[in-house]
């Protein structure tokens, strides 16, 4: 897996959300993406995922341009994602939620194969007992897990997680943390956005910090923790 972002710009009217960002990920890196509110984290993930078209710059995935592709084509290339506010298909069962990405991306394997695979994924997420329930009946944390399950179904090389720990029961947060670690050990690359500093500093091999659409720090968690620009972005300038 290789993701290369070159001088990426995203403007919304007069507001520049991403201001010429360049970033490179390779192998199975687990990158944490942090920054104050409005720094452009979700915009970056949405632009990589195809929900936003970049105003300028390039995104290459495994050497091929993906910046102008629709989200479904990007998913087909091997990039999976979850959303900041969970967007499971609420009036569909847990099993159906898992079948959607699988049958959309690999219909040739057939429904029976994917149902079997869905049971494995649900087992992994300890959610098999909920497979016949509608997604709307799940708690917020369970819906986060379900989204993770949707991503796992299609075995993407790069997984983008937008606030996977937000609003989740502390015990379930640990569970999600463990699942991410396990998948990472299995060879998946991650970009994880989080405001939960304890989790993201523990989880990440590398931290990228955004502020006002610019990367202000990029390195191992320990060096980022004491970076002056980062401290300033979070706490403000000293008088």
């Amino acid at each position: 897996m290789e993701l290369e972002i070159k001088k990426l710009v995203k403007r919304f009217g007069g507001i520049t959300a991403l201001n010429g960002i360049s970033l490179r990920l390779s192998g199975n890196e687990l990158v944490g993406l942090i920054g104050p509110n409005g720094s452009g984290k979700t915009t970056l993930v949405n632009t990589i995922g195809g929900i936003h078209q970049p105003s300028d710059g390039e995104i290459l995935f495994d050497g091929r341009k993906i910046a102008s592709l629709k989200p479904n084509r990007i998913a087909r290339r091997g990039i999976g994602r979850t959303f900041q506010v969970t967007r499971a298909f609420r009036r569909m069962t847990v099993m159906e939620n898992l079948l959607v990405p699988a049958l959309a991306l690999h219909p040739e394997k057939g429904r029976a194969f994917w149902k079997e695979r869905a049971r494995e994924v649900l087992d992994f997420l300890t959610m098999d007992h909920l497979r016949s329930d509608f997604a709307r009946s799940l708690s917020g944390g369970q819906q986060k897990l379900l989204e993770l399950g949707q991503v796992m179904m299609t075995d993407p090389d790069l997984i983008l997680l937008d606030e996977p720990f937000a609003g989740v029961h502390p015990k379930l947060m640990e569970t999600i943390f463990d699942y991410i670690t396990t998948l990472h050990e299995q060879g998946k690359a991650f970009i994880v956005i989080s405001h939960d500093m304890t989790s993201i500093f523990t989880l990440s091999q590398r931290l990228v910090v955004l502020n006002y659409g610019n990367i202000i720090a990029d390195g191992d968690p320990e060096s980022v923790k004491y970076n002056e620009s980062v401290i300033e972005a979070y706490l403000g300038e000293e008088e």
Partner: protein, 351 residues
């Protein structure tokens, strides 16, 4: 305090859901097959028209209820089917069956064109565009009198020829079209296409992020339902033998939508039964004059306010045990058992 055991008819526990559903459908079909033996000619005509509306309301429910696409042009596509076969017959002398096929194809082609044009935008655009399209088409048909005979109405050949006066064969043909289209739509919603359509209805962006080609499936649903409406319209034209632009006024579209909503817009059978019951009901209440429309309007408002799944869908849920299986539960339901047990009463199938 002792409690008396209550006698409960728990049909889902007695039979599997699938057997119950198909059994009920079979009973309805058998009753429908015998209708011509105990119904007089006029009422048989009313029921044929009711089946026509059932095709329209159920196909609209596929589009709106399953795919989440709110179109106001469904009766316009019905009219395209009717006028295509009518004009081919009048100007080129084509036989009704060939005309019907072309009517269906034309409705589908226009459906694809409109779908490709509008369905990549937000749903509100589809609603506005289809209202405008319906009105433009209606005015075009009114104006092009040399082609369509405008408000004078276009005469069509009877499907079975002028010699067949009995309505019974027409009854069975309309019933066959209704059953055929319902079976086809049922298959469609249970296929992966149906799965994707429901995902698109729930959240277009999320469906796209999961790999669903959103525009493609929306256009597909739009084209299929347009073709079904075109088929209904083409056959209707060759049954009533005269069609006019009045068949596609917005109030007709409102009627079809009301039938689907009152029956249950997210259930094909409920929407079809809504069409039949309302058409027959309006006819039976004809002696009340304009008051029947007032009652009908009030019923519609009450249903929109208090029974958003329509009247029949909750009934089906009660009879066949359809619907959601578990209530909102806490996060603790998924965390390891030693720290928090699974919520009480929640089992693998939510039973």
């Amino acid at each position: 305090m002792s409690t008396k055991p209550r006698l409960q008819l728990n049909l889902p526990a007695l039979f599997s859901k699938r057997i119950l559903q198909w059994g009920a459908a079979l009973i309805l079909l058998v009753v429908a097959l015998f209708v011509p033996t105990f119904v007089e000619t006029y009422r048989l005509h009313v029921i044929i028209i009711a089946y026509f509306y059932a095709i329209l309301s159920s196909s609209w429910s596929l589009l709106a209820g399953y795919a989440g696409q709110f179109s106001f042009a469904h009766v316009a596509f019905m009219a395209i089917g009717a006028y295509t076969t009518g004009m081919l017959g009048k100007h080129f002398g084509w036989p009704p069956l060939v005309g019907i096929v072309f009517g269906v194809v034309m409705a589908g082609a226009v459906g694809i064109a409109i779908g490709a044009l509008v369905l990549r935008f937000k749903p509100a655009y589809l609603a506005l565009f289809t209202i405008a399209f319906s009105e433009i088409l209606r005015l075009l048909i009114r104006g092009e009198t040399q082609l369509t005979r405008g408000d004078h109405g276009l005469h069509l050949e009877p499907l079975l020829g002028a010699d067949v006066i009995s309505r019974v064969p027409y009854y069975y043909i309309m019933l066959a079209i209704l059953v055929g289209t319902l079976l086809f739509m049922h298959w469609l919603v249970r296929s992966r296409i149906g799965l994707f359509l429901r995902a698109v209805r729930e959240d277009e962006q999320a469906a796209a992020a999961r790999g669903v080609d959103v525009v493609r499936y929306k256009v597909l649903a739009f084209a299929i339902t347009s073709m079904i409406a075109g088929l209904a319209g083409a056959f209707y034209g060759h049954y009533v033998t005269i069609i006019s632009p009045n068949m596609m006024v917005l109030t007709q579209m409102g009627l079809v939508m009301a039938m689907a909503i009152i029956g249950g817009v997210e259930n094909l059978i409920a929407a079809a039964l809504g069409g039949i019951l309302i058409q027959v009901g309006l006819e039976e209440l004809r002696e009340f004059g304009a008051w029947r429309l007032v009652i009908f309007g009030a019923l519609l408002m009450l249903i929109l306010r208090f029974a958003r799944n329509g009247l029949l869908t909750p009934l089906f849920r009660l009879m066949f045990g359809l619907g959601p299986r578990a209530e909102l539960r806490k996060d603790t339901a998924t965390v390891p058992e030693e720290s928090a047990p699974v919520a009480e009463g929640v089992t693998a199938d939510g039973a």
